[in-house]
Symmetry: C2
Subunit: 231 residues, 2 copies
């Protein structure tokens, strides 16, 4: 693993397991990290609070929350009135793209991260996409990330002038949820700070039944670890 | 020119000359148009009012304004406190990327347009980029647009399932400003509805001195036409 002391990296931070482990990996590789989160009209703000806690705990130099209103665009249970599906099997998640899919979400988020990368002169962008547990999501696949990176290097003043070269890092892309959790634990991540649930109870507890809760539960079980959030 | 009656197109509409002519071209090609504008923290909202007038006048089926806060990302005179440059020559604009450059702006805007395209099942996205007058802007060049289109077709549920194929149309990319204006006039565009100035006077008049005012003035002069805004 290349250690690049003090080089800046933008890290997409949602407050969940994957992006938290990704941030820990970026820190471990010696980057000075800039965490970016999105207030996009998701059903609750608990994940933004988690992202803030995580960014602080892992020593991010800055944590930026960008507002981008995806609710008017619609097309997703995460930004609209469609109910979040409950009680699906992990295998089913691999076969079908659920109604919690947000159209072009990673493309929108990476684009805002890219804008900040140019301002911060950060050539490295880390995103915690995972092609195994979410194999149905188009914007979590390696070929998408490669095409995004190619486009990014044609998009910016600094890249076109040859003063920056953008690299999109996806350290989790081939990992199982259990491997992601074990990697995080090995890097000292405190997963009690994270948040995964799509649809918390009115008193702010994880529902335990949405896709995200189910994958988290399965991941901790397979890692042989106890979830500090005790789902 | 292929006439595609009733097919839907998303058109990026800023209320300026270029995007207005682009919208008129999309309408002329037989598309049912969906205009999208961005409230991104620009210095004034006059262009959003212009975009609304233009969308109505040209018969867009819907006009969506998406809020995306680029001010916190920074890096531009259009979203920050850096003054807008005045009195530059058109030739100078071709050589130097000015401080009004907004990092990754077209990438962010196209990504939001792409999200809406999937929701609306619109395979065609029109953007009024122009590689002649703004040759310094990386995200106005054909190679950037090609890379964006390639990425877009790997990014969406509908494209990956083979149910949609995204095409990014850039009808103005090789036109001079005078040609853009003449094309608009031939298609019946009322340019009195448009707005170009980056930095209007306190009483809401165009400044006449920013890059955008200067290019507009030069364009109307070269087209041998009078600007209805009488800059």
């Amino acid at each position: 693993m290349i250690q690049i002391k003090g080089k800046r990296a933008i890290v997409l931070a949602s407050g969940g397991l994957d992006s938290t482990t990704t941030l820990a990996i970026a820190v471990d590789r010696g980057f000075e990290t800039y965490a970016i989160s999105f207030d996009y009209g998701q059903r609750h703000k608990l994940e933004l609070h988690a992202a803030k806690r995580v960014a602080e705990a892992l020593g991010a130099k800055q944590h930026l929350v960008v507002r981008v209103d995806l609710t008017r665009i619609g097309g997703s249970a995460l930004t609209g009135q469609i109910p979040v599906p409950k009680g699906r099997e992990a295998d089913q998640m691999k076969r079908e793209i659920p109604v919690t899919y947000v159209p072009a979400r990673n493309t929108v988020f990476l684009s805002l991260a890219l804008a900040w990368a140019e301002v911060k002169r950060a050539e490295d962008i880390f995103i915690g996409v995972n092609a195994l547990d979410y194999s149905g999501y188009p914007d979590c696949r390696p070929e998408y990330i490669e095409a995004y990176e190619k486009m990014a290097n044609l998009a910016l003043k600094e890249t076109v002038l040859g003063r920056m070269k953008i690299k999109i890092h996806t350290p989790l892309i081939e990992m199982t949820k259990a491997e992601i959790i074990k990697t995080g634990v090995n890097l000292g991540v405190d997963f009690s700070l994270t948040w995964s649930c799509y649809d918390p109870t009115p008193d702010g507890k994880p529902c335990g039944l949405c896709d995200s809760c189910i994958l988290r539960k399965k991941g901790f079980a397979e890692a042989g670890l106890k979830d500090p959030l005790s789902l």
